[in-house]
């Protein structure tokens, strides 16, 4: 929780200074990629936490990742593509992905409190942290896009059309929870990778960073 508070503080500082145009884009990107790194590591931890007590059958009947609601948001799928992708589009994609997860994270948060899992409390607190981090990152990216121009501000949000209660029985609940989390983990990794590519691109003058 303290981490998110500091993040928020940083973001507010960044906001204020960014308004004055004092912080260069490279620093903003650096800050944003720190957020996204944290986001990805949190989601990875969560999936591992869930896997400790996951019904074996779940792996077999797990929906395919193409069933993730953000599957429509196409982007680079390998390094070469990522390096060639235009910056504005990359940032736009990142923001769209993040925004698309605003509602599903709420669903995850709501269900985490009643999750039939032995590590439920840890999971619930981590999901909350996930939400806070995601919000902070979103604010930062808004500022960044403001600086980078209107092309980066195009958002194409994929709506989440899943059920709010994630299932009726315990196994379904767990399964859907895990599936949603795995989708989020993948998307957070995308966000993290793209932001880091952007950071390195913007920091051409500072080879030590990349």
């Amino acid at each position: 929780m303290e981490g998110t508070k500091t993040l928020k503080f940083f973001v507010t500082v960044v906001c204020m200074v960014a308004v004055a145009g004092a912080i260069p884009i490279g620093d903003l990107l650096d800050l944003a990629s720190q957020h996204s790194d944290k986001l990805h590591s949190l989601s990875t931890l969560l999936t591992h936490e869930l896997d400790t007590h996951f019904p074996p059958i779940g792996h077999k009947i797990m929906p395919r990742p193409s069933m993730c609601h953000t599957a429509t948001l196409q982007g680079p799928t390998d390094k070469i593509q990522a390096l060639q992708f235009p910056e504005h589009d990359l940032l736009s994609l990142v923001r769209s992905l993040l925004q698309s997860w605003a509602d599903p994270l709420l669903v995850l948060s709501a269900n985490a409190n009643t999750l039939p899992h032995p590590a439920q409390s840890t999971i619930a607190s981590k999901v909350q942290e996930l939400r806070d981090n995601s919000n902070s990152l979103g604010h930062g990216l808004d500022i960044l896009s403001g600086k980078m121009g209107p092309a980066s501000q195009i958002l194409s949000i994929s709506p989440y059309d899943g059920n709010a209660d994630l299932g009726e029985d315990n196994i379904s609940k767990l399964l859907n929870f895990q599936f949603l989390l795995s989708c989020f983990r993948r998307d957070s990794h995308k966000i993290d990778s793209f932001l880091k590519v952007l950071r390195c691109r913007a920091a051409k003058m500072q080879p030590n960073m990349c």
Partner: protein, 517 residues
């Protein structure tokens, strides 16, 4: 068909039948995809394990499907990664995309397909351990620091595609591992390494919050022993030896002079010596001791500036003797007279009393000299006394005793030195009597010693006859009587001796001191 071709077919079939008769004659077993692994998020390799019963003729094919791609694809490279493997190069690797892999074992009798193995390349990333782990030692003011560096993960880091993170572990030989998270840096420092120990260090890395690699090869470093610590130990032991020697010397020194068995006392006396009192210059202790009092007196008179030879009783707390030079002393309030000579011979502590006899025999003359100390040679009265003494021609020390103290230290309303002796722990001299009467000193002392701890108002208990006339030579000396009677000094001195140990009562009410002959 010609006869030759038919014959060939027949032979072929026969061979096949023969071979199949030799082999198991069944389709191959089900292969198992064991693992897939990507070292850098750009390529990956997968391995499978064929069934044990499969014959040599079984061939394997890896087929896969890709998310967002239509169609079944086959492994692009069966050879680069070895047997029973499939290598996917950059062109065939996509991330954030699911691969569904299957291996098919084919032989003459059929084929068998393995279970579907789903992977996302991102999830199978496990880098190789870091290379070129180097250790070097830095000695800064004898504090050793171990610096560790290693090669960074170069592929993909330049453009931000991969973020390697490192973790290090180290330990001293025969102790537990100490794991430290390093982060994105390629160097680490171990501060305050223990001197003289062998350290083992290993490094591992992970990409994009993924799985940790294996630990790197072990690297060793030996921290040299600290020289300064040895120096410190040498210094400490040396100073301890010196201290011990000093204590011993001190103890021996004390023993010589005080004859005390207790080291503590000697140390105490050494550390907190009693304040020495005034000495009369020119007094030769040895002369007095030897009994040649007149010589000593002469010396005193002649050589006022005679350097004082070392006094054996330096540890005696001395006080000025209260003297009055008139008879009023006897009649009036005698509380003013608080004269007291202290010598450490007379301790208030009962256990030391045994020693006092010995000391007193030695010290009565010293007591006299104490008195002498108090003599104010500048006083004309005293000079008169001295002259008088000098003419007495007695060779007893007694004559010296007549050099009593007068007006040693005038106090406001009287000429008495007021010595408050409330503290029983202080050393009191009760040897005043023995000073005058050497023959009876022992008795006196004994008596005095008995009462020492409690009550110094012994005046009443003192017999008059012991006061002055114990010295036979003294008695015989008419001059002495003359000396005694008319002058108030003797009574005073008597009183002084009587009340040697009295704290507050002084010479009090002992009228028959006059009568002492």
């Amino acid at each position: 068909m010609t006869l030759s071709t038919r014959l060939k077919r027949l032979v072929g079939w026969a061979l096949v039948i023969l071979i199949s008769a030799v082999s198991h004659n069944s389709p191959p077993g089900k292969p198992v995809l064991k693992q897939c692994h990507s070292p850098d998020k750009e390529i990956f390799t997968c391995w499978w394990e064929p069934n044990a019963h499969d014959g040599e003729d079984t061939t394997y094919r890896l087929l896969y499907e890709k998310e967002l791609t239509i169609g079944i694809l086959e492994c692009p490279d069966y050879h680069t990664a070895g047997k029973n493997s499939c290598f996917f190069d950059k062109n065939h690797t996509s991330i954030w995309v699911d691969y569904f892999l299957t291996v098919v074992a084919i032989n003459a009798f059929g084929n068998t397909t393995s279970d579907v193995y789903k992977i996302d390349v991102v999830d199978i990333v496990k880098p190789n351990p870091p290379e070129n782990v180097t250790l070097w030692l830095e000695l800064c003011e004898d504090i050793p620091t171990i610096h560790v560096t290693w090669n960074s993960f170069n592929i993909g880091t330049k453009c931000g595609w991969i973020t390697p993170k490192y973790q290090l572990r180290f330990k001293k030989v025969d102790s537990k591992w100490n794991i430290k998270y390093v982060g994105e840096q390629t160097q680490f420092s171990i501060y305050s390494a223990s001197p003289g120990k062998l350290y083992i260090v290993q490094v591992q890395c992970a990409l994009d919050n993924g799985a940790w690699s294996e630990w790197s090869n072990t690297t060793f470093i030996q921290v040299p022993r600290s020289e300064s610590k040895q120096h410190i130990w040498i210094l400490v032991s040396f100073s301890a030896i010196l201290l011990f020697a000093a204590v011993c010397i001190m103890f021996i020194k004390k023993k010589r002079y005080t004859n005390k068995c207790c080291l503590f006392h000697s140390i105490q006396q050494w550390l907190l010596p009693p304040v020495p009192g005034p000495r009369i210059k020119g007094i030769d202790v040895q002369l007095l001791k030897n009994g040649r009092s007149h010589e000593a007196t002469r010396a005193l008179l002649i050589n006022h500036g005679f350097p004082w030879n070392g006094m054996p009783w330096k540890n005696q707390a001395e006080e000025y003797l209260l003297v009055r030079d008139d008879n009023k002393l006897l009649n009036e309030d005698q509380k003013h007279t608080h004269g007291k000579m202290i010598s450490n011979n007379c301790h208030s502590k009962p256990n030391i009393n045994n020693q006092l006899n010995v000391h007193n025999s030695m010290n009565f003359k010293e007591e006299k000299t104490i008195l002498d100390d108090l003599v104010d040679t500048s006083q004309s009265e005293l000079v008169n006394e001295l002259n008088y003494v000098n003419t007495m021609k007695t060779d007893t020390a007694f004559s010296i005793d007549t050099i009593y103290v007068r007006n040693v230290k005038p106090v406001e309303n009287s000429r008495y030195v007021d010595i408050q002796r409330q503290d029983v722990d202080m050393e009191y001299s009760t040897v005043r009597e023995p000073m005058l009467f050497p023959e009876k000193q022992n008795k006196v002392i004994n008596r005095q010693q008995e009462r020492l701890p409690y009550d110094y108002t012994r005046v009443k208990e003192v017999n008059g006859d012991m006061l002055l006339l114990q010295d036979p030579s003294f008695r015989n000396n008419t001059q002495n009587t003359d000396y005694i009677n008319p002058t108030p000094l003797h009574p005073v001195t008597e009183k002084v001796h009587e009340c040697a140990e009295s704290l507050n009562d002084g010479y009090v009410d002992n009228p028959h001191t006059h009568n002492v002959k």
